[in-house]
């Protein structure tokens, strides 16, 4: 079934996001991993909304996806601001070298 196709694609994208999230040192690459994970979940929501819609409101899945996109926007803005602030302090953004806790 085509629903399975979307679910498999979403699972694979989710896995790639997790691998990216876990294996990279660069803070921005980690942020990209989070974006991949969020997108995978959004695909799931929309696919379920299309193929197994809830009674009476077939667009709930898409509404969820819209909220996910907006949340991702807020998250990316704050995370990038933190990364840039950290870059000003340390002159690099490799997360494994942030060993000092006090600024």
């Amino acid at each position: 079934m085509i629903l399975d196709g979307y679910l498999v694609a979403s699972a694979a994208l989710f896995t790639l996001g997790v691998v990216l999230f876990l294996s990279k040192k660069n803070a921005i690459a980690i942020l990209m991993g989070v974006e991949l994970i969020l997108n995978a979940s959004a695909i799931n929501f929309v696919a379920f909304g299309k193929f197994t819609p809830s009674q009476g409101s077939p667009f709930d899945g898409q509404i969820f996806a819209i909220f996910i996109i907006l949340l991702a926007a807020a998250e990316a803005v704050v995370a990038l601001a933190i990364v840039l602030a950290a870059y000003k302090e340390y002159k690099h953004i490799m997360v494994d070298q942030y060993t000092k806790l006090r600024g």
Partner: protein, 167 residues
Amino acid sequence: MIGIPEIFFYIFCALIFGSSLLVVFSYNLLRSAFALFFVLFGIAGFYVLLGGDFLAVIQIMVYAGGINILLIFGTMMTGSISQPETSNPSFQGILTLIGGGGLLLILLIILNHTTWPSQSLIDHGPTTKQIGQLLLRNYILPFEVISFLLVAAMVGAIVLINKGERS
């Protein structure tokens, strides 16, 4: 017989996974950032196939045109320019690959063993109007909360960036 949606599904799959593999395994962070753009574009293609035309456009506008550009800018401003070839090193590569493979295997097994409810395919036509009405009626509270969150995030980002400059 394979229909047109299936053909496009596989095209978008190729686009998404070709570029997301580049995102994950490239050692050049800028290339990763540019490849992410194609991943997001392919996902917008998925949304079109799933009957979410408005959602697809929002995905391109906010994700590909906003967040991804922001990531590219962030990449360029954080010193990845000086040594692009090694700007994105990975550590524990084998370990995470094994872990990721295991995770994918588990997910696929779960998918294989689950039976989803009966599927009735209805073409709902244009979605913009219904989504607008849902956002301003049923989901008005989340909508307001998320707009508040966006403003808070914006103010927070400005404060975070300006903090270093003042001291």
